[in-house]
């Protein structure tokens, strides 16, 4: 198999300069997706530590592994966490969770926390999915859309093209902008058929940068159509792997008519669901503490 550029590394992180022992309440969110498992620990509703791991064949084991990794180096034990919410497709299989909440509710809540109420539109394009979220001026999520069915419009689709043309993924964007004239976008949406189309273009003598330009602009068109469904307004942020591809971002900004906010890497967008879960955990904990 060819090199898989889209593979992400497993890792953990503790936010520097915080002591969890000073916190009043420690809560956690665990998001078990089909591909990755994320655990987030929050102190008084602020991000404290997290881990991102690959999901194995068993959800309970994956949950445990992600949690253990997040706890590493913190000196914290599972017992120190007051309330844990599980989310994602494996949410009912998180053995140490107090309850489960659907990933859509958690994603919406997490997006809001990460990007703040000023942001109206969020586009998160990861390796295997694409999410679009719209929030109102009160910071409430008004629309949510996730597409993880089709590889077109995900990092994986771009990866297939990078492989086909033997261009490192990080060079795709700049290379696609180095054309004298913008070519017609690739007409097939389907990555499989777009690939055959690209092979045809190369045979006709098109240089690589033209083929990449044709694909980046097809992807920008496609993403803008998804955004239309949830209504795109300022401020607009793009996260996930595709945010780093200026070939797609520039073309997308041209289509929608305004610019995306600059990338902030303060939070890993992959953790949005688990952050939402940990925030719900805090609220639920406080409510149950009040009622007893």
């Amino acid at each position: 198999m060819s090199k898989e550029f889209w593979r992400w590394p497993e890792y953990r992180r503790t936010v520097p300069g915080k002591d969890w022992k000073n916190a009043e309440v420690v809560t956690a969110g665990v998001d078990i997706g089909s591909v990755s498992s994320k655990a987030v620990i929050m102190t008084d509703g602020e991000l404290y530590a997290y881990s991102i791991m690959r999901t194995g064949s068993s959800s309970p084991d994956s949950a445990q592994k992600a949690m253990d990794r997040a706890l590493e180096e913190t000196g914290m034990k599972l017992d120190d966490i007051k309330y844990t919410v599980g989310t994602g497709y494996g949410r009912v299989n998180v053995p140490f969770a107090n309850r489960a909440i659907t990933e859509i509710a958690c994603h919406a809540r997490g997006a809001n926390y990460i990007w703040g109420p000023k942001v109206r539109t969020v586009l998160d394009m990861g390796g295997q999915d694409c999410k679009a979220i719209h929030c109102d001026e009160r910071g409430k999520v008004t629309a949510f859309l996730m597409n993880d069915k089709c590889a077109a419009g995900t990092g994986r689709g771009m990866e297939v093209f990078a492989d086909l043309l033997s261009v490192p993924i990080e060079e795709v964007g700049p290379m696609s902008l180095s054309v004298d004239k913008e070519p017609e976008p690739v007409s097939s949406t389907c990555v499989v058929f777009a690939k055959s189309e690209a092979v045809g273009l190369l045979r006709k003598g098109w240089p690589k940068n033209m083929v990449l330009a044709a694909y980046c602009s097809a992807m920008a068109n496609r993403v803008s159509e998804l955004l239309e469904k949830i209504k795109v307004e300022k401020e607009f942020v793009i996260t996930g792997g595709i945010a780093k591809n200026i070939g797609v971002v520039k073309r997308l900004e041209n289509i929608i008519g305004f610019k995306a906010l600059p990338i902030q890497e303060k939070f890993d967008p992959m953790t949005a669901g688990s952050i939402g879960a940990a925030l719900f955990a805090k609220a639920l904990y406080e409510r149950s503490a009040k009622s007893t």
Partner: protein, 254 residues
């Protein structure tokens, strides 16, 4: 009267010559880079096989995805119309014709005269057509023609979750890593596409007899999986990939 049908498929070009509703000869060629040139060659070879010359052919009707660039044609018919006519010609009892080709899956409802009543189509997504099986055979490192027989040897049903060809490739690779027998993976692949084709066909209401045509109808693994998914028996003609071309050759003058 002698007529010819040319089916300009995405993968193969099929030519059929009919005389008074009897098949005189058939020809097939890869569509290749220059579809028109390949079609000319296939057509002339099929003529020679029938011992005829171009002037003997009263009418030449084109169908298929590339019908606009078909050579010699003086008329054309939709792929669905051709499926219905060709299907009813081979099996007069056919009321539902399912055609799965390289880049498209279709189902056509027809009457006893081969007239199309309704149709449903899946196109432009490789996951609903023969390309899906081709891509999976590459991921599985099994020759395409061996996929079907291999699938019949499966012992266990394993689910495939990905609904996209690209994601399914990765799923097949991880099934291989998990030491799943290749026969079981092959069945999972055929079950997955059969499930999509069956659900698509349900839109028409499944009326018997159901016949299966198109290039993918040569795959015994797919036939078995589709029977299971539809819950009815399927009639499959010999040379199922020629049904469209036969239908075109039968098309009435416009």
């Amino acid at each position: 009267m002698t007529t010819a049908g040319i089916d300009m498929g995405a993968r193969n070009i099929k030519v059929v010559i009919l005389k008074d509703n009897k098949i005189l000869s058939k020809g097939i060629a890869l569509s290749g880079f220059d579809q028109k040139a390949s079609a000319e060659k296939a057509f002339n070879e099929t003529l020679t096989k029938a011992g005829l010359s171009h002037d003997d052919i009263k009418r030449i009707v084109a169908t298929g995805a590339g019908k606009d660039v078909a050579p010699y044609a003086n008329s054309e018919i939709s792929m669905m119309g051709a499926d219905a006519l060709g299907g009813a010609y081979l099996f007069p009892s056919a009321r539902t014709v399912i055609d799965v080709g390289a880049e498209e899956g279709r189902a056509v409802k027809c009457d006893d005269k081969g007239k199309m009543i309704d149709f449903v189509i899946n196109e432009r997504c490789a996951a609903g057509a023969g390309t899906f099986v081709e891509a999976m055979s590459r991921a599985l490192e099994v020759k395409l023609e061996e996929m079907g027989p291999l699938s019949l040897k499966a012992e266990k049903a394993v689910p495939m979750n990905a609904q996209c060809t690209i994601f399914a490739e990765s799923e097949v690779v991880s099934l291989i890593h998990a030491k799943t027998p290749k026969a079981d993976i092959s069945k999972a692949i055929h079950d997955a596409i059969a499930d999509r084709i069956a659900s698509m066909t349900r839109r028409l209401g499944i009326q018997r007899d159901v016949i299966l045509v198109g290039g993918v109808a040569k795959n015994v693994g797919f036939i078995e999986s589709l029977k299971g998914a539809l819950g009815v028996d399927l009639l499959v003609p010999d040379d199922p990939e020629f049904v469209g071309a036969i239908g075109a050759a039968l098309a009435p003058a416009k």
